[in-house]
Symmetry: D2
Subunit: 337 residues, 4 copies
């Protein structure tokens, strides 16, 4: 049994995380924090959990975590706020799964350029395993700190990673057109996420400036000696959850569509959560699950891959639990099926 804590407990990823951990036979949530001084219990923030998880929310305190014998912390804090608490946690021997972008990139300069803020713990950037078990399982199993992946990068890297690794597609000519549900934008009410603005509407946002673009590029870079170059566009679709990424790739000369499908089939043969499907997947079919469904389609000389995940599960809290299982030596699929 592992005692765990959730930092930043009022958002959607924290709710999904709790829903998963409550089903986990080896996890006990002993602490959940928020900065909001008037917050009541976890279920006050998340009425779905009334009667199931009524833990009082508290302010963050390293001492309390140590006193409670917390072994693993899930940090749902915003970027930089997360890194600030992580260093002392690691020093206390507490393992951390970080939902923020703080440790995802290869170097702190890129972080500072895209996030426009100093990194509180720059030396560690580039040394932290990226929490996509299907691509980096070995690193994760032995880590004390995991950078839990961004939702869009998850939907892009799972299909693209093996193909770039085996040089079946050009890494420098990749287009990632992603559609996300509104929960991806967090729980804070904003004009762009107001129901009467979002419903019956779809739009692109952050074109050319989205912070998940360098994340996709830098992670792909780990699979190739070339400098990957992804054109990434995010779209807000009128749905609560789900990401569908449509990926346009150029096969290398003499590589057929069939080889691309075979490569993924082979690479993910033993992966529980990756399903190669024949029909382009809907986000509905992976909704509320940790599955990632991928289809390979024929179209002109570009190959079109479509990849569907639940942004809150495989794109966030499900991945975190998968990482938790690996870090603690539990069966990897525990609480995820």
């Amino acid at each position: 049994m592992s005692k765990v804590a959730i930092l930043g407990a009022t958002g959607y990823t924290a709710r999904e995380l709790a829903l998963l951990l409550l089903k986990h036979p080896n996890a006990e949530i002993v602490c959940a924090t928020t900065r909001d001084e008037n917050a009541g219990t976890f279920s006050d923030s998340h009425p779905a959990l009334r009667g199931r998880f009524d833990l009082k929310l508290t302010q963050y305190s390293l001492e309390r975590l140590v006193d409670s014998a917390v072994e693993v912390v899930f940090s749902c804090l915003p970027h930089t706020a997360s890194a600030q608490v992580i260093r002392p946690l690691l020093e206390q021997g507490i393992k951390v799964i970080d939902f923020s972008a703080d440790y995802r990139l290869n170097d702190s300069q890129t972080f500072e350029q895209w996030y426009d803020v100093s990194h509180p713990d720059p030396e560690r950037v580039g040394t932290v395993p990226y929490g996509l078990p299907e691509l980096f399982r070995q690193d994760i199993s032995h880590a004390n700190l995991i950078a839990n992946p961004g939702c869009f990068p998850t939907s892009a890297l799972l299909p693209l990673g093996p193909l770039v690794k085996q040089d079946l597609i050009s890494a420098t000519d990749l287009i990632v057109d992603s559609k996300t549900g509104v929960s991806g934008g967090g729980r804070t009410p904003k004009p762009g996420f107001h129901f009467a603005e979002c419903n019956e509407s779809i739009r692109a946002y952050g074109v050319g400036t989205h912070r998940h673009a360098p994340e996709i590029n830098q992670l792909l870079e780990r699979f190739t000696h070339r400098t990957p170059n992804v054109t990434f566009t995010a779209h807000l679709a009128p749905m609560e959850r789900g990401i569908l990424s449509t990926l346009y790739c150029r096969p290398q000369p003499n590589v057929s569509h069939g080889q691309i499908r075979d490569c993924l089939e082979e690479y993910y043969r033993d992966e529980t959560f990756i399903r190669l499907v024949d029909t382009p997947p809907s986000t509905r079919q992976v909704s509320h699950t940790n599955f990632c469904d991928i289809a390979v389609s024929h179209s002109t000389e570009w190959v079109v891959l479509t990849c569907a995940i639940d942004n809150l599960i495989k794109g966030a809290s499900g991945a975190a639990v998968q990482n938790f299982n690996l870090m603690c030596g539990y069966e990897e699929t525990t609480a995820l099926l």
Copy 2:
């Protein structure tokens, strides 16, 4: 005043068409047809029009149209069914605006290849003006028959047409990623359009096989001596109406993003229905209108264009009324603002 008829009156495009024509000071709908022998009135099919347009639906009859002195027919019939009635209508001197794909392509062989059926009127294919007034206004004004454009092609050709014409972008390396509302699939209930399947879900469909791909290619071909090559993917989004197309283009060497914006700005300066906007448009902002909003965004070496239309208005019935106005000499924006 022009007497007009609507063929195939029970679908969504017919409803939207009637809503527009009822506001038109120079149009009188004197006939509306359906194959359904039990159909009652137009408003029985479209309850929104109760009390506003209660015309009895009738079976198609050339004689009745002639006897009613119909001058213009809007054909919302399916492909091939439409071409079959159009020939005799034209012989009677009746003008036709055809919503089907029958006369959109450059040649009947391509039609037969993609639609997998013989064309009932193959000689005429390739001679009929394509009803996008912003690109082909001159041809439309003098025509007796107009091929009303497909909804996806409209959202792709309006941004791409001028750029290909002026050779600012490569015509052979174009990616069109389109998201449509469910009304684009018609009114017939099908599993894929069932609310409980569509809601909270997005998916690609017809990847590599969608019939609007050759339409986009063949229309672009009219602007260049090269053979255009568009990779087109359609997606079904959980909304009733609207199309957002995200277009990835490669500028020709030494062409800047600014020049691309300037070209469109210039080309559409006097067009009422084309709006160059600074923020990627939402489909909501053009919903229930004949507007087409286009944004040009900076992203890597690809230029990303986003284009929003209402698939039922600018993508179908609004365009038809715009064509009607041109063909009959009415102010082009009549009933459309």
Copy 3:
């Protein structure tokens, strides 16, 4: 031609109002105000109107309205803020259509009790015509100030008014169960209107405390010597617009369901915007229109009436334009069909 102004121009009712007035041959919007000092143009707030209505928004100034020769003001200001500007406007001979609740009730005490604030202009309360033309047309035609009705009361009073007036149903045993789209809650982002909270969800709110309850009661009181007693419950449905009210009434002894239908049929025979329909109406069929569709259904000894309106049109801006037409002597349906 009437010069008009819109106060409080950044909300949804202002947008819908502008969309209607732009189609009105006798109205010219010469001024639109907001308290937001950084607001740009009307179309900056409402991108749907880009190129169609780009008037610069200004701070409210009585002088400017007078100088601009404004004849009619549409006030979309919140309650009490509205009454504060209305008195001086009336003194200048400017007519006002007030969207707020300030002048809807029969007396200022009830207002102060339910709105928990002093009324800035208490004497006038109870003397202002209530802007439901189908029930109070005579009063409206001669008025300088109109209290534009609440959206829920509109959907309740149109079916109930004639029945209470003719004493066909009990006024003291009425249940109004209303379902509204999210735009009814205004444009300000709030947790309850966040897309990821609203979608795939319906809930009741303000049970027993909603301010439209006294409005329904007091207006019904004008039709009977009894004190009406309505149990009103509002629900938030996952849609942008539309109100469906389901009304449970007890017929008076020996009054049949048929008589109830006949009464409404008769009462509304010449009303363009009221449609008695046979099948319980959907909100979709009145969406984006000024229509109010009503069905009378048989169920136990209660009669069940269902009434559908567009909350932003017949429930707000459409009603306002209808009142404007009456006050200024224009054809009542102008810009509304």
Copy 4:
């Protein structure tokens, strides 16, 4: 471990049932049937279950069920079709949980009147426990056949049952206004469930004729010597799942709102799945769960109760698993938390 079978495996309730049973440590689905001869596997019908439940669907065969040593059958067949297979199953000693309405009512005459068809097994009607464990647990534990409740009746009976039983409210003056998601209408595509018709729309249906009205009345009758009289109206809301019922009750003389709340609080004190909440519940907060959230609100002399369930879980498959647990002696909440 119990071997179970699912009859009628292609619908939504079958999918939800499989999702629950796959998490159940004591259930093994050994057979799933359909009438469709071309059906492939369970996951062909339900892509969400690809790789998780790929059992081949078969035609119904009593022999096969017996040969497979099936102990419990979940019948998701339509009414009358279900009763036809149930008799021989019971004779073989196989327990049955029947999702259809065949055995829910008190007598076969009422069934035949409302369902307009002869009952294939009329003698058994009225003898079968109604599968609402919170109200009829004792009967369920010892039964071989359970009538799994209708979704709307579940949402009405859980709040009303205890109040009628203790005579705190009038049983003859009850109004049940229910709003359901579209999955309640089944998976067969129909015009009324087409996305482009449902979205952005709400409407009443089956007013005065819905078959769940007699079900509510007859079940309430088991708690009182009076003849209950419920006015029931169903509404279709634009969401996939969820039921919200708003219940208007008249307290008996001198019964306060507080006593009504206390009664429910007391009655359901030890029930895991019933939650008395202070704020009117949203369907979202019970979505994908077996919970039933109930609020008691103050409004005029009527008490307004709101009750939210997931129509596919607590309103169908979750209740079935709860009944299964009781019938087989498993912990009642197994696979449901």
